[in-house]
């Protein structure tokens, strides 16, 4: 047919032609609707699609809309027993990706009634359910979502949020400091608790189990909890500050997780931790448990790199961030910019804004495709962890701001003078940098000098600077924004 790839070819069919048995293109079934004006209550998605050779991008977009909502591969008459026009997702715009060949941004609107209230498992079963294995596409990536406030309001959100966490911990005005206990595997419970105690008494606010510390033969969970709490309590006594250790409750079953969380509560921990690999249902359950029991909830994003890192296929981390804030976690690892793990500065800024702010305007240079309103849902505290050290404090404060947990694992425990001096170096560096910023100094430019001056009165900081100097991990990012215009700094 001559008009197969033109506009006429994409038009929705009616009557006999639409409902006759057999296979017709998704676009013609009504999943392509260029004139559609999204409703305020619609869920909107932006997918990056890479169609198979010869597949029209509009048809590809329509196919994604179809497969992620009501469609199956052939016409079914039972559609006519439903309010199908309402339930069909509509691809309303397709744009070529600037600078990329055969990739398109497809914008799709979903009626809110397609999704169960307060259920990320249900939302994701539609949006990323079947469609990512779809043969007509070479690759597919969910870049961003606009969650309407109507739907946001059905979610639990962080058990406490940034403001309540700060009031609970009695810590204001500066990034919080943490560390992951190292080595991550192999320490006995008593030695493990020693690391916790030293890091906290030295000046850190929080210490953390690593994602893969659960209950192994070398250290069972109950023993770890008991020794960690001894360390936490001793550090509180020594400093007069609230201290915490994220006790990882990740385990094989919900029953095990509840048991561990209950015990963490009994022994007086202020915070527990889960891994992303436990799944969305388990995360939501733990969010509810945490609010009910006054427990801060830390999320380690274990596993996310398998689907967030490559630009053409998977789910962007900004979408994961959004889902996690909705399900409800108080902390989430979200990148460091300067550390050892993937992180383009503009992309990280987009993740941090998504987690912390109440209104985030569209900003393609930061990978944000839609305005997002959170309707006053409290923010989730981003956590920066992996290959960062005191010598980068000015950059960390500049890139990541104040509402962040900076986690210096190696940068504390690997300090030549010991763990407590390592912690002290980080604490002096962060307080000194915030002081300089508040005093109106150009702390980013003067950062190295500010640190040197602080180190004159703090030997552990001097040693930290001598040891790690200006070490940073400069590799090209894989996940960057694709925008036509040159981005201007905000």
């Amino acid at each position: 047919m001559a008009d197969e790839n033109g506009k006429a070819g994409q038009q929705q069919l009616e009557g006999e032609k639409r409902w006759g048995a057999g296979v017709i293109p998704y676009a013609k079934m009504g999943y392509w609707e260029p004139d559609y004006v999204p409703a305020d209550s619609d869920v909107l998605c932006c997918f990056r699609i890479t169609p198979q050779n010869g597949v029209d991008p509009k048809e590809a977009g329509a196919a994604v809309a179809g497969e992620s909502s009501t469609a199956t591969w052939t016409v079914v008459w039972t559609d006519r027993l439903t309010n199908y026009k309402r339930y069909q997702a509509k691809c309303y715009k397709v744009e070529p990706v600037p600078g990329a060949e055969n990739q398109y941004f497809a914008f799709i609107a979903y009626n809110i009634d397609l999704f169960e209230e307060g259920s990320i498992p249900n939302l994701t079963a539609s949006i990323i359910g079947n469609v990512f294995g779809f043969k007509a596409l070479k690759a597919l990536r969910l870049e961003d979502m606009r969650i309407p406030t109507h739907y946001i309001k059905t979610f639990h959100g962080p058990p406490h949020g940034i403001v309540m966490e700060r009031e609970y911990l009695n810590k204001f005005g500066r990034p919080l400091l943490g560390a992951t206990t190292k080595p991550k595997l192999g320490l006995s419970a008593k030695n493990y608790g020693r690391v916790v105690y030293e890091a906290l008494r030295g000046g850190l606010d929080l210490v953390k189990d690593d994602e893969n510390i659960n209950s192994q033969p070398f250290m069972r969970w109950r023993d770890r909890y008991l020794y960690c709490m001894e360390g936490v309590q001793r550090a509180q006594e020594q400093t007069g500050e609230i201290k915490g250790h994220y006790l990882n409750v990740t385990s094989a079953t919900m029953e095990d997780m509840y048991e561990r969380a209950e015990f963490a509560k009994e022994v007086g921990s202020v915070i527990i931790m889960i891994d992303l690999v436990i799944g969305y249902t388990a995360m939501t359950s733990m969010a509810k448990w945490s609010r009910k029991n006054g427990m801060l909830l830390h999320l380690h994003r274990a596993g996310h790199g398998t689907y967030t890192r490559q630009k053409t296929h998977g789910v962007s981390f900004r979408v994961i961030s959004k889902w996690c804030r909705m399900m409800g976690v108080d902390h989430i690892h979200a990148g460091t910019v300067v550390g050892k793990l993937e992180g383009d500065p503009a992309m990280i800024r987009g993740f941090y804004d998504t987690l912390r702010l109440d209104h985030i305007p569209e900003n393609r240079a930061q990978g944000i495709f839609f305005d997002q309103d959170w309707a006053s849902m409290p923010g989730t505290m981003p956590v920066a962890s992996g290959g960062i050290h005191a010598g980068q404090m000015h950059q960390l404060l500049d890139y990541l701001g104040e509402d962040v947990v900076l986690q210096f694992g190696g940068g504390t425990i690997g300090h030549p003078m010991g763990i407590a001096p390592g912690a002290e170096a980080n604490r002096v560096a962060v307080e000194g940098m915030v002081k300089a910023r508040n005093e109106g100094r150009d702390y980013v430019k003067e950062g190295p000098q500010i640190l040197k001056d602080l180190a004159k009165k703090c030997q552990p900081l001097q040693v930290a600077l001598d040891t790690w100097g200006e070490i940073s991990f400069n590799y090209e990012s894989t996940d960057t924004a694709d925008v036509a215009e040159t981005p201007t700094p905000a």
């Binding site: 204001f172 006053s376 604490r427 307080e431 915030v434 109106g440």
Partner: protein, 143 residues
Amino acid sequence: MRVTQGTFSFLPDFTDDEIKLQLEYALQNKWALAVEFTDDPHPRNSYWDMWDLPMFDIGDASAAFMEVKKCREAYPNHYVKVTAYDPSPNRATTAFDLIVNRPAEEPGFQLERTEVHDRKMNYTVRSYAADKPHGERYQTNGK
């Protein structure tokens, strides 16, 4: 010991000029300053006594600093802190807090352990200062 609550407790105590710069920063951000004092620095003591009401209408760092000075003079052996309050929507909490006075001797805390069962321990942190009644704490020089 040194109680390390507050935004800047790991730095040497601020000079008056350094304190004023922080007050200035708060006022630039339209945060309200307030002065509080206590003789019980327990980490869970959320309610230090207020030195008058928060200074919602004082936009001048020198004027705010006068209140800091007055409080310090009235309670030279107490902990005194100045807090900046951020009233913005979805925030409405402390923006930073700065300890501006400490007792000459900080007696610190005791960790009380109660062994319960199955190797479990119940912990309580107690301020040594709270052994004495209000008004009699930190009075080492007969003041």
